[in-house]
Symmetry: C2
């Protein structure tokens, strides 16, 4: 018997360096349930997978559905994703995840449904292209300004992934011999603009006696790291250390994105990610201003937009890759792929 | 009457910031004649067009053919090329060429044959793709290391030109707030690696008392600028100023190309251009070494090749866009495009 139409719900999980976001959508991508939890900062991949399954189950409950009844769950994951085996390797912004871990199969067991994996920034870029700010464009660059700085390239309305790893705009070198990046290299955009790298700099400045409210706000809000909302509060309070580090971040993003435009000349740039979405339009305007002096064709800058899907671009993008027909065994012949 | 098959020869002109190279090829792209002349350093676009026509005629004579008997001539030009009108604008490495000039129509009159124009780096990249080192690849980045630093992107064996201006790898920012580039911006790859920018730096260092043989060699060889062969001679003689400036150039190229690979993840990089071809394989190896510390996926670097067509990639690429059927009036109905 075909799976009833009203049961054709899918899940999407966005695994970030700071938080896990899960949603349940119907066939028209309306969000029926959502949930969010912090990404574990200790342990290893197993702990992360357990936390992901818990957040997904919570979103399913919010949508009044059992997770096992979803036709499938899509996951946007950092690191190198092997779509065939469901393994994720080198997700360096996650705890103890330097090797490879079978994230897909583990989640399938925990959730009792099919799971498909994709690269986090690629799925988010695809979500903007299909459902968000990228809809009018043939070519664009998605920039994910969060714990790290990732990117996705769209050419001819298709994701361009190169040999599998295209889009690493966070590792464009903007200052030869500059700051050490969290990737170990020097002078990358992410060394200035990644939330993780900014936190390292803030701790250094704080440790060397510079006054900042960043860590006070962190303690008040019972957090163990400087989340995007903590940065936002500190900036609103006129914190000088926060302002200086954000200035450097905006400047590095401007130079890196302008360099990418000089090379690719795509129609649009879409800025998302935890920091991008939290700081919002005024900071997109600041990035546009920081790009301007570096644009080779200066009289025809690209369109630059804030993510149209906000916090949900990653999770919505994950639902776009979620299995849509349920387990093969549950699919009646009439409903099988033609 | 159809044009006789043996007369189906085409011309190609590569207009560089330092020299003009012209060739005549047959249908299998064998070079039957070639000539070369310096690019005028004074005057304006008219003078450049006159010099181009003279070099083209010389190449035709070497191929025992009259320029007017060529089915057409292709031109690879710097600046912004309007293929429909044959106008070239903003070729800033050429004398007095800040505005727009009808290069195509002017050459058609001077040479009495059809002329088609293309962007210099795009035609050179296409030549490498079709006839040279790029033949095995689906995706690549062509880098033209010459008076300026240009680039061409190939994706799915097709040139990607974005909104018309993709490929400007020379204007990737590698040092925020760094040297002033010849484009007026700061910290671009070209500010360190372009022959024109390197000459400005050499004159500064020479003027401030640094010992260098560069300008002596220039006078001996009766040149009015530091050509690629002058740089090569100075390097071979152990000139310290030349070595230091080339070190900076290699380092900037390494950072810029690695950033482009992090973003695009293409299979191969092909290095050509006046300096690239003149300095050759040992310097390609040095660029590969300078890229290494910046490659995000460090265990799978792209293939990096020296141009397979050497000095002729620009001119051969120009012949690929040359009109192949002669003037419409000379073409019999049986030979007209179907």
């Amino acid at each position: 018997m075909p799976v009833p139409r009203q049961r054709r719900l899918r899940g999407g999980i966005d695994l970030g360096g700071t938080k896990i976001e899960a949603i349940v959508v119907d066939q028209s991508y309306s969000v029926l349930g959502r949930a969010r939890g912090p990404t574990p900062t200790a342990g290893g991949p197993e702990e992360v997978a357990t936390a992901m399954a818990a957040v997904m189950r919570e979103a399913a409950i919010a949508a009044s559905v059992d997770a096992a009844a979803l036709t499938g769950v899509g996951v946007g994951s950092p690191g190198k994703v092997d779509q065939a085996t469901g393994a994720v390797a080198g997700a360096r912004n996650l705890p103890g995840w330097n090797g490879s871990f079978a994230l897909g199969p583990t989640l399938e067991q925990l959730l009792d449904t099919q799971v498909a994996l994709g690269n986090d920034v690629e799925v988010a870029t695809n979500a903007e292209l299909v459902l968000g700010a990228g809809r009018p464009y043939q070519s664009l660059l998605g920039v994910n300004w969060g714990t790290g700085v990732g990117g996705g390239i769209v050419i001819g309305r298709k994701l361009w992934i190169g040999r599998g790893d295209a889009g690493e705009i966070g590792h464009t070198v903007v200052r030869q011999g500059g700051h050490r990046c969290t990737c170990g290299r020097r002078g990358c955009v992410e060394a200035y603009a990644g939330r993780a790298a900014m936190e390292i700099q803030a701790r250094k400045l704080h440790g060397s006696g510079k006054q900042t409210a960043l860590f006070e706000i962190m303690r008040e809000r019972k957090r163990d790291r400087l989340t995007s909302s903590i940065w936002q509060r500190a900036l609103e309070a006129g914190d000088r250390v926060a302002a200086r580090l954000i200035d450097d971040a905006v400047s590095a993003l401007g130079a890196g994105i302008a360099s990418a435009i000089n090379l690719l000349d795509v129609e649009a740039v879409i800025i998302g990610g935890g920091l991008g979405v939290r700081l919002g339009a005024p900071y997109v305007e600041r990035i546009v201003a920081a790009m301007a002096p570096h644009l080779f064709v200066s009289d025809r800058p690209p369109h630059v937009h804030l993510s149209g899907l906000g916090d949900l671009s990653g999770a919505l993008g994950a639902t776009l890759i979620a299995p849509k027909r349920g387990r093969a065994a549950h699919v009646a012949p009439a409903d099988a792929p033609s």
